[in-house]
């Protein structure tokens, strides 16, 4: 197996708020391998975005604080790097696209200017017209029609899907090795979502970048991801390759997620939600964070007192689950067949 390009070890991030200290991310560890698509799944507030934002140094540090952990990119710890070095990587080898392209693009600059800015920042000595020519190429490569004209337009003159394409172009401008996509399709119409998925796929095929796909949309994961990290209440609760996660999940939360999907062909009268609410991140429940909602725990003491560690599970490979009773879950739920690619 190839050396991981990004290794996150025991990352813990806290925020001081008026009401107390919020631990957004606790002891999170996972790897990103070159060229793969890693999906990070979780509800809002699970910490899936915070971990990546912190790794890139985009979490505001006055309210935020890295309590522990490291993030090794090609061997060097991003969290410990001098700011200038991290800045050189950001937007260059490590690129990120965000959820809402309307608010994520500066309304007073042209799309072309913003993409060219990405190019000029990371290529000392590049001339403006070279940058502009390359910008037009990039826009064409993500499928923006009439790129030579559109390059001088403003974000409000683009449609939602076009804007997201432009953002992807901007991220890919400097041939990143890692592309982080934070909810790239959440703010878009369903039909546009499908288009953007194609754009991301094409981008990956061309550049072989590793992609971190952060989303709560399981369908997106099923279509794009190679491996999946499931997060809950700031911790990783399950990791595995996408087939294993979908067909033989070994954590009650993952199982709950898979169950709650509406499936074509299934004969159900009611959708099956996960009961209860996500926990308060200021005073989380003791022991396993999921236990108040867990149908599997049955009130067993160890669930209420001890935080389960991420242990190897039966899927083999690096399938791991953070449940005290993962073994009992063998064959518990019917799988969702992952579409043959």
């Amino acid at each position: 197996m190839a050396e991981p390009i990004l290794e996150i070890r025991d990352l813990t991030v806290e925020f001081s708020t008026e009401d107390g200290i919020v631990r957004a991310v606790t002891g999170v560890s996972y790897d990103l391998r070159p060229g793969e698509v890693l999906g990070i799944v979780g509800e809002s507030g699970s910490g899936k975005s915070v971990s990546m934002l912190t790794v890139l140094g985009l979490t505001p540090m006055p309210p935020g604080r890295i309590a522990a952990g490291e993030a090794l990119y090609k061997g060097k710890d991003l969290l410990d790097m001098p700011k200038k070095e991290l800045r050189d990587l950001r937007g260059g080898e490590l690129a990120m696209i965000f959820q809402d392209p309307m608010t994520s693009l500066n309304p007073v600059f042209t799309i072309g200017a913003q993409i060219s800015e990405a190019l000029l920042t990371h290529n000392d000595g590049m001339k403006e017209d070279t940058a502009k020519a390359r910008t037009i190429e990039l826009l064409e490569s993500v499928g923006v029609p009439f790129a030579e004209r559109r390059v001088d337009q403003y974000p409000h003159e683009f449609s939602g899907g076009m804007r997201q394409r432009a953002m992807i172009a901007m991220a890919m401008a400097n041939d990143p090795s890692v592309l982080i996509a934070d909810e790239p399709t959440t703010a878009l119409d369903v039909t546009i979502q499908a288009q953007i998925v194609e754009v991301i796929k094409a981008a990956q095929e061309q550049t072989h970048a590793a992609i971190v796909l952060i989303t709560h949309d399981l369908g997106l994961i099923a279509e794009l991801a190679d491996r999946v990290v499931v997060m809950y209440a700031g911790r990783v609760v399950e990791i595995g390759d996408v087939y294993t996660i979908f067909e033989s999940p070994r954590h009650p939360y993952t199982i709950g997620l898979m169950n709650s999907l509406a499936r074509v062909g299934a004969d159900l009268e009611r959708l099956i939600p996960i009961p209860g609410q996500p926990p308060s991140m200021i005073s989380p429940p003791p022991g396993c964070a999921f236990h108040p909602r867990c149908t599997h725990s049955q009130g067993r003491e160890v669930c209420r007192t001890e935080i389960p560690a991420l242990r190897a599970a039966e899927g083999g490979g690096d399938h791991r689950s953070a449940c005290h009773f993962a073994e009992e879950l063998a064959g518990v739920r019917a799988p969702i067949a992952v579409g043959a690619e």
Partner: protein, 324 residues
Amino acid sequence: MLQYVIRRVLYSIVVLFAASFLTFTFVAVSGDPLAPLRITPNISQQTIRNVEEAKHLNDPVPVRYWYWLKDAVTNQFGTTLLGSKPILPDLWRVMKNTLQLVIVAELLAILVAVGIGVYSALRQYSAFDYTTTAFSFLGLAMPLFWLALMLQVGVVYIYEWTGHRVFPIANLSDVDPGTGIAFWVDRAHHLVLPVLVLMVASVAAYSRYMRASMLEVVNSDYVRTARAKGLTEKKVTMKHAFRNALIPLVTLVALNFGAILSGVVITETVFSLDGMGLYFVTALGTNDPYPIMAWLMITATMVIIFNLIADIAYGYLDPRVRYD
């Protein structure tokens, strides 16, 4: 763009007419400009009646308005009722003086306020932030005339203790015009306190606004994107954040022009400056609609011009509103 400007100008002219008619009616109906004449014992009834005829004071209001309008357009806003003093030259003179005061005060206020606002936003909750916020609150709560008076009293006390005339406290100049640099230096010296007073309210309001605007922008998604692209903090702040934060301030400054003039009225009264403010207050005392109307019309025109400039500037700065 040109179409838009033309449309606005035409529309403004209509509004100006309507406003002028309303104001004229209001002023003409409610006061008796000849009151001082009536109580002077030596002036005969015949004289008074002659004046009334000459100035059409007994005609119905719309007719009087028409006379005023004719006079205003053809005869430089005509002459005062009592004494027939031509209005425009006086108005022109005081306007120039006031504009000196206002332009200097506003430019300085904007510079200071933008600096304070941006720095407070970037160093939120710091000692600087709290101090400047406290001063802003104070500046907005203090009656302007009181501040002016206190400054005057302060200067006098300094004089009593140290024998030093720090700043002049009244009038525009002690030196005759035409003496070149000396005149301007003296003028500047006289304007220090009035400019300070005018600046206080503006700086307080603008800096609060700039701070809020900057904070909002600095926490926006597109600033996060700029950071994600690897730009230096300086570039992120100055190029991406600052420009966006500045836009609403432009409108605020332009719309604030009316409030500035109100401040001018007070400042000039306290410091006895020969400007538009004092002119207006004096004119009010005479109950003569002509100078009052002239003043109001010119002011309204200036306001409309300022609003137009603000709109154009806004369109230039924010591409989203350009194709209106």
